[in-house]
Subunit: 146 residues, 4 copies
């Protein structure tokens, strides 16, 4: 477990997420959450790929966006939505899992600024950085999940 | 049909897309494509939503990303990948369909710059602008689809 | 005068700007402002150029940033600061003037989302689009200028 | 001197920069450069400030943009221009100096992706992170400076 993580918060986020339409299908799991940071793990399967067999950029973005929103939520303990999001794709997302790590840079009263990385992983290989970027997360108020 | 659109290109993009893992599940349809522009239509269903019942931001991003990549592809007639992508979320994506429109701003030799809008639509209602942004699309070479 | 413009607001913004350190040196003039939009005109001079003789990208960014912040300020009638800013450079900024146009896409309570273009102009030539992008403008409260 | 730095490259970049219109006025100095990284130091003076007395956001952007372009140039040893640039402002830029650090994340053949931070510094105070972001730097070919 990462040193920033809080097991109760992870469990809450995962339970909350599994009830949601897209997340239930998407299948990512929160493996660490707390103190403005999150780590999400997404098993790769054919339904997530594009025409070259890589994980679709839209799925890489969706994973990163969720990591950022949840990081912002743990930073503030409040319900949040993504206000803006920038991603740079660096390498094809190829592997058995994608791991997104999001970290709060600044937790303001109305906006939390978060940076993220997404690595592709496969057994016996070095993780490969496949995307990085930043998000501005808007703070809405007290949350059910965080 | 939009004045920029080319029916043969639309058919090619749709046939190409339906064979792909994520796109086949996602269910969007290209309703116009040509001259550096595309219009994609996505029927909203519960599997695309988040905890408030809105279309998940990750799905809005995925739709916009595809509209941009395809616009870049028609601008250059070559295979492309998204290099970078920025989205600003403006309103909850609520309705029966999302419509993304992407338009090439500049078609360079190695990078195509594209801007996009995503509107939420429902019968009897004005379309609601729910996201806008820009992408840098990297030109790879001759494409199967475009 | 643009149809969105309010002469009193233009005069106020220009008077306010001329008292500021960087703006006084930079030399841009607000030529239209109102209803969430602005148009700024910057005379090109050697002090604004980079090693190819084009206007420096940092100066193009600074002009666009100001156009966005002022557009956000007129949208809300409150003091604002830029929260985030994305620019895509499309062509060398060559000419006698740069003209930035910023337009509010959504004026939220805490964030105003603005899109912009920067055109390079010279007598007898078509304006050339040299940059475009978007900004998230944070609303601070009642302003001296707007 | 930073462990990534190459004194000859620093000297070359500084000599090259002092001959340029905007940079000569702006006054920043390259204090480290090499292996896809740069560190630039900008003395704060009244001509760089905005209406609250902070360094103008346009100047913070200009400094970060240059740090990124130069980082991309050292990564590839070729002439470059900024293609796209995203900045998140985190805190007022107040101090005697701004220090920008840019680091290459991926050096592609046509695009170098760079991330940056800008810290405000003053004697006897902790550096304060005032901005962070990313840039896509387009590779043009062999350079005079790098």
């Amino acid at each position: 477990m990462r040193d920033f993580s809080d097991a109760a918060m992870e469990a809450r986020l995962n339970a909350f997420s599994r009830k949601q339409g897209f997340n239930a299908w998407f299948g990512m799991e929160c493996v660490a959450a707390g103190k403005g940071q999150t780590e999400l793990l997404l098993p790769v399967r054919p339904e997530l790929t594009q025409h070259h067999g890589f994980v679709h950029g839209g799925c890489v973005s969706a994973l990163a966006d969720m990591a950022c929103a949840w990081a912002g939520s743990t930073a503030r303990g409040e319900d949040v939505v993504t206000s803006n999001f920038t991603i740079h794709f660096l390498a094809p997302a190829v592997g058995t899992h994608l791991r997104a790590h999001a970290k709060t840079v600044r937790a303001g009263r109305t906006t939390v600024t978060v940076e993220f990385t997404v690595n592709a992983e496969a057994e016996g290989k070095e993780p490969k950085l496949c995307a990085t970027g930043m998000a501005g997360i808007a703070v809405l108020g007290k949350s059910e999940a965080a």
